[in-house]
């Protein structure tokens, strides 16, 4: 029986990414020199799962690379090596490298990478160094037995132990999620392994409980490892099994290998036991499924005596042959509480439906039943709304998914800038839509870089200004109305309003005489190509950035603002809708068609005063609205609906704003305002100019959502300049 492992790739990759995040977060908690075993253990566990998983699926490059990290961690955990700052750096780099490798798998690319090779070399260089004599070495009780890692020391005698291990698990072993195969795999990495299964306690088939373990194993292991190391392999099962380890023989020999890592040594000694075998063997899902299907008859026992190697070969080969599944689809991990509440609500819905059904089937339906019917319908409406909210909540994830990457970012940048920075995260549990989350992370990275580079002063400047030498950056997220607000606060020097003003004047963005408020001047940093940095650093200051940030956030129907006080600091405030799936919109009528204009972009709606309409060359009409000239776009022209009303007087003008420019859209009539669930038009069709999506109205028919910036582009209008109107080409030509 073979299992297509590729179906698990996605889960593995998701889990590995999570594991890497854990490792990263924990690494940042570590300080050189001090070893908190809990933290190290957390990192170790995460690394170990990645190694195990990648081995299972045949991603050997990852497995081998993770092994290097593990080896180093292991030494640190055992106190054989002091944790140094460069270890943390190296491990952080490795995490980046592993991420790349995982992505390579997602994209069906080869996972081998140059980075990994380089980092591996660095690990091996560290491992080759004499382990720090940190007093509390773990080998106190192992007589002359060397800890395996110290093999690297030149001209050291190597001790080979032969252990006889009796492993008798309790029947419930499998239920605790333990898998003897893993243990054998781990042992196989230590040296030459022979496993003999005792099958005499298997009952008659009728009495056999498929989930119980009836086997015990006799294991002979020829290894350089100590008894302690061997016992550690059984750590997970020691409560669920009887484990006897006997040292039956011990040999000493001259070490052949000098200056080599532990892994390589093992490899050289035991050529039959190449790494691939140990790592390719099926684990987790594959073998669990096997155990279930074959009634707990796990492979090594099927033939009574066998090394894992021979058994696993075919499966390992299969893994490689299997085509890698393309992972286009992304997945969400949802808390069971959310799913439970959904199930509850569906239950309610079914009850209401049954009740309404009963009413409907009642032959003698009369007025007296009407109240009951109304109640039922009200209940149905209530249930539907609850259900809708819960379904939306499934897509909601805590913003910590984005926040969690920033401690690392801040650490890296502050090191590069040689500034001391403390990052505070507030409101990490604030939830927002997954799609919004994915798109907000890049703008946030940019803003944070900016705060660190431009916002915060150097340490000496801070001391001179009488501030604490450690700069503070705070990320704060909270809900406000239907929006999520994210603040990026620094206590740096604040924006240099005067400098921005000078720069803006130099660039021709504003006039000296414009008389803008400080706030308005500060907002100019969001203009394209605007940078006040004197020096272009590799972190920021090239002048592309703030406008991109603003554009990205606007594309999510959000806004970004800056508030700043000289010498005290700046605050960037991002406001975003909680979800992209729902939109507040205004229904408008154009001829026989109903379109939806997003409410956020509507400034006002008005009846056109013909006295204020001027025709600019080329048939473009502009409306003078207070101090502004607003170009008029006729929706029926752009959308080609000749049946709609043609004159400005008969229709209504909806003034909308997009990308800081205002245009007036001529429509026949305004209808209701309501919330809409956005549906994709591109899923089954293609992108349509001037349309951002579709939605389904209460009547069941479809209505299209207007894309304002797309419309402006369609009409061929360029942004009206400061000094007057500047149209790229006349409207009549564009349509």
């Amino acid at each position: 029986m073979s299992i297509d492992l590729s179906q698990f790739y996605e889960v593995f990759i998701d889990e590995s990414f999570e594991g890497l995040e854990t490792m990263e977060a924990e690494l940042l908690n570590l300080q050189p020199g001090e070893v908190e075993s809990e933290i190290i253990n957390n990192i170790f566990r995460a690394a170990h799962s990645i190694k195990g998983g990648s081995g299972t699926f045949g991603f050997n490059a990852i497995a081998e690379f993770t092994h290097e990290i593990e080896t180093l961690l292991d030494q640190i955990r055992n106190g054989e090596r002091e944790l140094e700052a460069n270890h943390i750096d190296l491990m952080l780099k490795s995490i980046d490298c592993l991420r790349d490798m995982l992505r390579a798998i997602q994209n069906d690319e080869p996972q081998e990478s140059e980075d990994a090779k380089q980092l591996t070399a660095q690990f091996q260089a560290i491992l080759a160094e004499q382990a720090a004599p940190s007093g509390a070495s773990s080998d106190s009780e192992t007589e002359e037995g060397e800890p395996s890692q110290a093999v690297s020391a030149p001209a050291v005698t190597k001790v080979t132990n032969i252990f006889d291990i009796n492993f008798t698990p309790e029947p419930h072993l499998f239920k605790t999620g333990n898998e003897p195969l893993f243990i054998f795999d781990d042992l196989a990495e230590f040296g030459e392994l022979e496993v003999v299964a005792n099958v005499q306690s298997i009952p008659e088939l009728a009495e056999l409980v498929a989930e119980d373990c009836y086997f015990s194993w006799n294991i002979t292991l020829d290894t350089t490892q100590t008894e302690e190391e061997v016992l550690r392999v059984f750590e997970w099962v020691e409560d669920d099994a009887k484990i006897e380890v006997k040292l039956v023989a011990q040999f000493e020999e001259e070490a052949e290998e000098v200056n080599d890592s532990d892994k390589e040594t093992t490899k050289a000694e035991t050529p039959t036991q190449d790494n691939e075998v140990a790592k390719d063997s099926p684990k987790s899902e594959a073998s669990v499924a096997k155990a279930d299907d074959d009634g707990a008859v796990t492979p090594p026992t099927a033939q009574n005596t066998s090394t894992p190697k021979n058994e696993f070969r075919p499966v390992a080969g299969k893994t490689k042959a299997t085509e890698k599944s393309k992972s286009d689809s992304s997945s969400i991990r949802v808390g069971t509480d959310k799913v439970d509440s959904l199930i509850n609500m569906v239950g309610e819905l079914v009850i209401t439906q049954a009740m309404l059904n009963e009413l409907g089937e009642d032959e003698q339906f009369d007025h007296s039943k009407l109240t009951a019917l109304r109640e039922g319908l009200a209940q149905l409406a209530h249930n539907t709304r609850d259900l809708q909210e819960s379904v939306m909540r499934i897509r909601m994830l805590p913003i910590s998914f984005v926040f969690s990457r920033f401690p690392r970012l801040v650490r890296d940048i502050s090191q590069k800038l040689d500034k001391q920075v403390e990052l505070t995260l507030i409101g990490e549990g604030t939830e927002l839509d997954k799609t919004v989350m994915e798109k907000i992370s890049d703008p946030m990275v940019h803003l944070i870089r900016n705060s660190l580079d431009h916002g915060l002063e150097t340490t000496s400047e801070r001391i001179a200004a009488g501030k604490d030498e450690t700069g503070n950056v705070t990320l704060n997220a909270y809900h406000q109305g239907g929006n999520i607000v994210i603040e990026i606060i620094d206590d740096g020097r604040g924006l240099n309003t005067e400098k921005i003003k000078q720069k803006a004047i130099a660039n021709g963005l504003i006039e000296e005489t414009d008389g803008l408020s400080d706030q308005e001047i500060n907002e100019l940093i969001f203009q394209p190509g605007f940078s006040t940095a004197d020096q272009v650093s590799d972190i920021s200051g090239r002048g592309v950035g703030m406008d991109v940030v603003k554009r990205n956030i606007n594309a999510l129907n959000g806004t970004v603002e800056v508030a700043s006080e000289p010498g005290v600091g700046s605050t960037f405030t991002i406001r975003l809708p909680l979800t992209l799936a729902i939109l507040d919109g205004q229904l408008v009528k154009v001829g026989d068609n109903i379109y939806i204009i997003p409410l956020v972009s509507i400034v006002e709606s008005l009846q056109v005063d013909m006295n204020k309409v001027n025709s600019v060359g080329g048939g473009v009409d502009v409306l003078r609205l207070r101090e502004e000239y607003i170009p008029i776009l006729r929706l029926h022209e752009l959308f080609n609906h000749p049946e709609a009303c043609q004159s400005l007087q008969d229709g209504l003008l909806v003034v909308v704003e997009s990308d800081n420019e205002k245009v007036g859209l001529l429509v026949d009539d305004l209808l209701a305002q309501q919330q809409f669930v956005i549906k994709s038009l591109e899923a089954n069709y293609k992108k349509v100019d001037g349309i951002s999506g579709a939605t389904i109205l209460g009547s069941g028919s479809i209505s299209l959502i207007v894309d304002i910036s797309g419309l402006v582009k369609m009409a061929g209008l360029k942004k009206p300049g400061q000094a007057g109107l500047d149209f790229a080409k006349p409207l009549s030509e564009a349509v």
């Binding site: 026989d592 068609n593 752009l638 959308f639 080609n640 609906h641 549906k679 994709s680 038009l681 899923a683 089954n684 069709y685 293609k686 349509v688 100019d689 001037g690 349309i691 579709a694 389904i696 069941g700 028919s701 479809i702 209505s703 299209l704």
Partner: protein
Amino acid sequence: MNPEHENADLVQYLTFMMDDEEYGIEILAVQEIRGWETTTVIPNSEDYVKGVINLRGTVVPVIDLRLRFKLPHVEYNELTVVIIVKVEVDGHDKIMGIVVDAVSDVYNIEKQQAKKAPEIGDAENRAYIEGLINVGDKMVVLLDLEKVLAI
């Protein structure tokens, strides 16, 4: 071994009528058959794109096959049929509706027997044709849906 193996060459086709001709599409692509219903017009679309309909919450474009083949348009009536099909366009599965005059029959067709369309007539239309085949004394035009619906 494989029960489908022995008649693997036989493919089931759903046929429909259009301008008195019988056309066939692979039945596995067909999701359902519906009557004509009013669509929401997509602005500035080609004339053969009749608009989009709401298919149980999915936005599905509807293509008039007559207009796609540059055949004369006929008024829709209660017999006008929309066949909902699932095709792979540019690597993505898309669900679309095609408007045809009437649904005709289901045939088991041996694909190898199909003849190439003669090299005359509208070259564009010919690209949509996978082949011609005789069923009894009738001729059926087998369509290459992917090409027809690559819009």
